[in-house]
Symmetry: C2
Subunit: 359 residues, 2 copies
């Protein structure tokens, strides 16, 4: 019987607890979270076998420790716990930057094992109250393992598969290089683009003319800095390298525009078109800009059209829809994605009004 400790029962930690408990009730889950109080403990009880009173208690209660706190806290807890593992214990984390963990690991001479993880999923709202056993369904779970123990890794992978994810192995450094390029750089560019375009003259507000595609392109510019602050600090070198590569590319385009080298520009446009058309369409990537609502529907014909009609009547546009899980004769769960948080919140109310269950 596996014993798991989860440190931090927010969206990810809570979803891991729920998914594992749903998948296998035999798994023993202990957890530490300072937000658990006497008043709210009943929320946690169905999923958590034992509430721990400190991070360190996890060392006595588990074979695998999941650190699921925000990046800076996670690094601190990782530094404290990693050196104290015994030879049978695995420590893992779920942070979006991976190399700093590996550096700590290499310097701490632990007897245990470290397997870094980055589940590529999320929701707009955090917290245990928004956690969901289906959060990982069909998502990519990146592992940046630092263990050569194949049987141990296999065991860990079996556990991760219980979440419903697809595993992808990428070394920590490589992960951070890719994340800088396809997630952190686009975020910074989006912010810079909005700031650049936000001119107001006496008479004209540029952005009044920047609707539609400009909104789509800069959606992530509305992200909260608090989630980016530690990512930027921890992945600084890779982010700087990605910015520099982008600057070189943009500067060369600028030179070609200056000199009206239209053939060279054409090559860059065609290369980008070809490349972009190769981006996979059906997986969640590093950037997840839509706002998800999970709806449970019984197995009846026409339910989805009932929901979409109700939303349509209220002017709510569904941007993406995905069937996550279906059980013959008993229904399934759909993920409906919306462009804005406001839309997703209103959609939840409407869907509940017409009698469906929000998950």
């Amino acid at each position: 019987m596996k014993r798991i400790s989860i440190i931090g029962l927010g969206l990810i930690g809570g979803s891991i607890a729920k998914a594992l408990k749903n998948a296998d009730a035999e798994i023993n889950i202990s957890a530490f979270d300072p937000f658990i109080t006497n008043e709210n403990i009943n929320l946690y009880k169905p999923y958590i076998d034992k509430i721990l009173s400190s991070e360190k208690e996890s060392l006595e209660n588990s074979d695998i420790i999941f650190i699921c706190t925000p990046l800076e806290t996670a690094l601190k807890q990782f530094s404290e716990l990693a050196p104290l593992l015994n030879e049978n214990q695995i420590i893992t984390d779920v942070a979006g930057v991976k190399f700093p963990f590996e550096e700590i690991w290499k310097s701490c001479n632990s007897k245990g094992k470290y397997i870094g993880g980055h589940p590529m999923t999320g929701k707009e709202k955090g917290g245990f109250e928004n956690s969901d056993p289906l959060l990982f369904e069909n998502a990519i779970y990146i592992l940046t393992e630092e263990t050569n123990d194949i049987s141990l890794l296999k065991e860990f992978e079996d556990l991760i598969h219980l979440l419903g994810t697809n595993i992808l192995h990428i070394p920590a450094k490589q992960h951070d290089v890719i994340a800088a390029s396809v997630s952190h750089l686009p975020q910074l560019i989006s912010v810079a683009l909005v700031n650049t375009a936000s001119l107001k003259t006496d008479k004209y507000n540029f952005l009044d003319l920047a609707a539609g595609g400009f909104r789509d392109m800069t959606r992530i510019a509305s992200s909260d800095f608090s989630i980016w602050e530690s990512v930027i600090a921890q992945n600084r070198d890779e982010i700087l390298a990605a910015i520099e590569k982008f600057q070189i590319e943009l500067d060369s385009m600028k030179t070609n525009i200056e000199k009206l080298n239209l053939n060279q520009l054409k090559d860059r446009f065609e290369s980008s078109r070809k490349t972009r058309d190769e981006i996979p369409k059906n997986t969640k990537g590093f950037l997840s800009p839509l706002f998800d609502v999970f709806v449970y529907v019984k197995d009846e014909p026409g339910v989805i059209s009932k929901i979409s009609t109700a939303l349509f009547k209220r002017n709510i546009n569904i941007k993406d829809i995905e069937l996550l899980k279906i059980r013959e004769g008993s229904g399934g769960t759909f993920r409906l994605s919306f462009e804005s948080k406001d839309d997703s919140e209103e959609a939840k109310l409407i869907i509940q009004e017409i009698g469906f269950e929000i998950r």
Copy 2:
């Protein structure tokens, strides 16, 4: 009775003809387009009172000449026709770059009047066959008038209002500065971003992890260079200025990341968030987004043609179609993308009317 000539019966010119004729059958419309032949002339006949055999014939047949050809051709035709106007004639155009027309106008000593125009609307597919009297409905029609004749301007505006648009007055130079900032710059950045992120190492294709938000953010990177070539050439100075502003902003963010000046970075994030939330949500801007509809279809031959025919009959243009999911023997889900929310919402109703399930 107004006499209008339209030079170039593509998407915009054709839509103007249809919209004006629908609004007021008394308006006399003549047109020149080398694509009109004996075989296809019947397509045009309901809307065009007289087919002209050259651009210059428009001078004999109209009070107002609309030049609706692609940018480079439009500039050439404008140079030829503008000097030949009499004092009662107005010439106008619909191009996305405006200052080059004004420069030609100022140097040609015409007796007529010039009112520059830029209707902010469009569709993926061009040509008269895709033109639509509703193309302008609720769109912004920018006028960069170079006339002080208020009563003439009023008359012209009344005509433009027949298209269903909202008029916005912006001087030509200012228009091009704004377009560079909110349309041309984002286009170039999108291309540069895709080219920067398109790394492949031996083992990893970066873009495999760049789904979702990255695709959204770089949708316009798939644009065809042919539509950008003359825009870049004609608006070069404003585009270069916009790139430089962006470079300064990005460089300052880079310095703040280098020095870990997180408070300054936070300011930039917050400024962009605040600004972006002010972008109008329901108007068409310089860049048009797509609106998606998901349709579940059983596994039968010909369903998609049934749907597309029904939409076509109602003048709804499908901009993109993608098969998302298919189960052997039980059907699949298609994503249909539309240029406007109105189109997508009308499409949903039509698709349901003919018995398919919207997901």
